[in-house]
């Protein structure tokens, strides 16, 4: 704890002084707790019924992971990687398109009154459509292949990103825009040299927050109609109550989401040092 001797901060309360090691311990604690509860529950169930499938033992889980990742199935495929590749591809295209379109729309309606008048009310309306309710329509329109899944992610995420980008663009003080004009900027230069660079890092935040919904839409679409994908696999093996596959898959999906979040966070921290402390 910083500040030794008699004049130290309390270790609790809103002014608490935290050392790096204490933070680490506290961060690991909930993970350890979850693992402990699982191990205990699993052991208890297996003591009662050795054939229990609901909470597989560590050994069974490891076995399930091994089979999914390193043993070819009947089609000669390594399921986990094939599923991961298919799902990530859908997610990347859907989310990437949503980010690009969201940024373009938000930027334009943020700076151009005419674009705002023509688009903003519709955008608010559009954003209120529950994307999952569109799923049947998308399947009918675009078939059950890739397109419908990507479009579902796009439709679910793009309006939210666009609205967020619009609000960020509007947050830029009018004085800054005027300042740029007095320094000789043209209107496009105000848009691309004042507004865009300032809302770009906020786009990364918006994408970060959209990761959750994007995965939700992806798995929903995969679970209804697909022949490969992480969501598809979970719903297929559910029929056999194969918790030794479902649990690792859920964990893997979570871990992938965490990695993406981390990558975006690091990009923000290293790429945009000027963004306020709180947003890093």
């Amino acid at each position: 704890m910083p500040g030794h001797g008699r004049h130290t901060r309390r270790w609790y309360g809103i002014l608490a002084a935290m050392s790096g090691r204490a933070s680490l311990v506290l961060a690991v604690l909930p993970f350890a707790l979850l693992a402990a509860i699982y191990l205990y529950g699993s052991a208890a169930r297996h003591a009662e019924n050795p054939d229990d499938k609901v909470m597989p033992t560590v050994g069974q889980l490891a076995d399930g992971i091994w089979r999914a990742a390193f043993e070819a199935d009947r089609k000669g495929e390594y399921r986990l990687w094939v599923d991961t590749k298919a799902s990530l591809r859908r997610l990347a295209i859907g989310l990437g398109l949503a980010a690009l379109v969201g940024l373009a729309v938000g930027l334009n309606i943020g700076v151009l009154p005419i674009a705002r008048a023509a688009t903003y009310p519709f955008l608010i309306f559009f954003a209120k459509i529950p994307p999952l309710a569109l799923l049947p329509i998308l399947f009918i329109l675009f078939g059950v292949e890739e397109k419908a899944k990507i479009i579902l992610i796009f439709v679910g995420v793009a309006p939210v990103i666009a609205i967020d980008m619009y609000l960020r663009a509007r947050e830029i003080p009018y004085e800054q825009v005027v300042k740029a004009l007095t320094l000789g900027a043209s209107q496009p230069e105000v848009i691309y040299k004042v507004v865009l660079p300032q809302i770009f890092p906020k786009l990364l935040s918006a994408v970060r927050l959209s990761l959750g919904p994007a995965w939700l839409f992806l798995i929903a679409a995969e679970s209804i109609a697909a022949d490969v994908g992480l969501g598809y696999r979970i719903f297929v093996v559910r029929r056999y109550m194969a918790m030794d596959v479902i649990i690792p898959y859920v964990f893997w999906i979570t871990f992938l989401g965490y990695l993406m979040d981390l990558a975006l966070r690091l990009w923000m921290r290293w790429g945009f040092r000027w963004v306020g402390e709180g947003e890093k």
């Binding site: 004009l181 007095t182 000789g184 496009p188």
Partner: protein, 303 residues
């Protein structure tokens, strides 16, 4: 430097300018009332007045950020309809570009002047060469502002006074024909403030630009300006109480350039201060003020 009639149009001209803002459920609140003003090129004008009298509002009109309810705002004989390269501004509340370093903030205008959005990439080798020149010019300005060692920091890493100095460098380096400053030295410590006052004067002598600056420091106003304008809502008319601020005083400062500190000891300096001070004052305070005497820089109720 006297207010001689220019051969061309006035650098800055107001004709019966009125500005009002809507009040919720109560019509309009008049802030500026029938302002008339003519400023020839090359004059250094100080605008003083109590807080809330509409000084910043007048600046926004001159910038073209807002248009007047009625009346005309002309710069170089042309109606002001929007911000332009000819009219530089240092805002009351700093408005640096937060995503650029101090140095990049200062070179911002210089780069825009020579390179368009795409031109920068089309003529990239040339841009690289020119950027060196821009940067050394900017560093020179930053040295004057005693900010050289902060050149590579971002605005969030600076104190308020430092940011203000960057904003001044950013505007001055462009040498606009008309430079407007809204309380530019308000947040500065005493020595830095004096340095920058002299820096402003030097720049003014070199470039002969027209300067309009707002300040709450009356001593600063008299020390720097050729001409002092007092904008205030505290006056009475034949038809009753005032509605909106007017120029209650438009006075030449009787000292030659270049200014020296000694003029502050001149009795005319004190007399002018007192005259300005009294006019900008809330009438309810005038009695008190007469009994207790003026403070050195009592710019109305400086908020």
């Amino acid at each position: 430097m006297s207010a001689t009639e220019p051969s061309g149009p006035w650098q800055l001209e107001l004709k019966q300018v009125v500005q009002e803002y809507p009040v919720k459920g109560a019509g309009w609140k008049r802030v500026l009332d029938s302002l008339d003003l003519r400023v020839p090129a090359g004059e250094l004008v100080a605008l003083v007045g109590p807080s809330g009298c509409g000084k910043s509002t007048l600046l926004r009109l001159l910038l073209g950020m807002e248009l007047p309810r009625t009346g005309e705002v002309l710069v170089d004989g042309k109606h002001v309809v929007g911000p332009s390269r000819e009219r530089g501004i240092v805002f009351q509340h700093y408005s640096l570009f937060p995503n650029l370093t101090v140095l990049d903030n200062v070179t911002y205008g210089l780069e825009l002047e020579e390179f368009t959005l795409l031109g920068k990439w089309v003529r990239y080798p040339r841009y690289r060469r020119r950027r060196k020149t821009f940067r050394s010019e900017a560093m020179h300005a930053l040295e004057k502002m005693r900010l050289a060692e902060h050149a590579h920091k971002y605005p969030f890493e600076l104190s308020g006074g430092m940011r203000q100095r960057v904003a001044i460098a950013q505007a001055m380096i462009m040498r606009p024909r008309l430079l407007m400053m809204d309380e530019p030295f308000g947040a500065l410590d005493y020595t830095t403030r004096y340095d920058l006052q002299l820096y402003l004067l030097d720049n003014f002598y070199q470039t002969r630009m027209t300067v309009l600056f707002i300040t709450h420091d009356l001593e600063e106003a008299v020390f720097l300006a050729d001409r002092i304008l007092v904008l205030s809502p505290y006056y009475v008319t034949d038809s009753g109480a005032a509605n909106g601020s007017r120029f209650l005083l438009d006075e030449r400062v009787p000292f030659p350039h270049p200014r020296v500190l000694a003029i502050k000891k001149d009795p005319r300096f004190g007399a002018l201060l007192e005259q300005i001070c009294e006019l900008g004052l809330d009438p309810s305070r005038r009695q008190l003020y007469r009994e207790r005497g003026p403070g050195q820089s009592a710019g109305g109720d400086a908020s």
